[in-house]
């Protein structure tokens, strides 16, 4: 009954807007991204607002007794997920630079982020 989806390649954009801890959104979003990698789709990740904190280097979560899942971002490359975008305004507002991130990202402006969203087929915002 299900349609055959093989051969269809859509542009998926995962928008990460929330801090890594405090809520589960960031962790469960990453779980979707990892599953999505098996579908041979065109995948991009965007980090904006407090979402930029998700890819910070040196996360220590022992004090709050929550799993530090940030090493997983570094594993994305192994899944052929290499298009990571950070919104410049969100980064600047928080006093961060690309040196603070544990993965390689492309920094884009708010306007460019809007264009990226417009050009994507499926935008999943977490």
């Amino acid at each position: 009954m299900e349609e055959d989806t093989s051969g269809t390649v859509k542009k998926f954009l995962y928008v990460n807007r929330k801090a890594p801890y405090g809520t589960i959104y960031a962790l469960e979003s990453l779980e979707v991204v990892l599953i999505a990698a098996a579908f041979d789709q065109d995948v991009s990740l965007a980090f904006l607002d407090d979402g930029v904190y998700q890819i910070m280097k040196g996360q220590l979560t022992k004090g709050i007794d929550v799993k530090n899942f940030s090493p997983t971002y570094r594993a994305l490359e192994g899944y052929d997920i290499e298009k990571l975008y950070v919104e410049k305004e969100s980064m600047d507002e928080r006093g961060l630079t690309t040196d603070d991130f544990c993965v390689e990202v492309k920094v884009i402006s708010k306007a460019e982020m809007a264009a990226l969203m417009t050009s994507s087929d499926v935008v999943l915002s977490f």
Partner: protein
């Protein structure tokens, strides 16, 4: 148009589940198709048959069940998110099924639009 719907919040605490339902209902009334509703994060709590709201309030779980039965909509609950929150086949409401995140990606590929309802 063929829509896929993603519900990321639980019932009652957050209005997202209500809005998703109202959106689905309105789209169907306009002649659109909803092929799947995928429940993720706390959204999985929309699927427990143990839900029992006061009788003068809407029953969100039953509302999904009826909409799905009337329009042959696939109600899919993410297995990983469900197990984290104590939703399993034993307490799953009829009309819902537990499956993997692949069903969400598939919905994104198959639907003309995938619409997210969440915080």
């Amino acid at each position: 148009m063929k829509f896929g719907i993603l519900v990321n919040e639980g019932p009652y605490t957050h209005e997202a589940a209500d809005t998703a339902y109202q959106f689905a209902k309105a789209a169907l009334e306009k002649g659109h198709k909803i092929h799947r509703v995928f429940f993720y994060h706390d959204g999985v709590n929309n699927s427990t048959r143990l839900t029992e709201p006061p009788t003068d309030d809407r029953n969100i779980v039953q509302r999904w069940q009826k909409l799905a039965a009337d329009h042959k909509i696939d109600l899919v609950v993410c297995v990983a998110a469900a197990l984290r929150r104590g939703i399993r086949d034993e307490n799953l409401a009829e009309g819902f099924r537990i499956s993997g995140l692949g069903q969400l990606i598939e919905s994104g590929i198959q639907a003309d639009r995938l619409v997210t309802f969440g915080d």
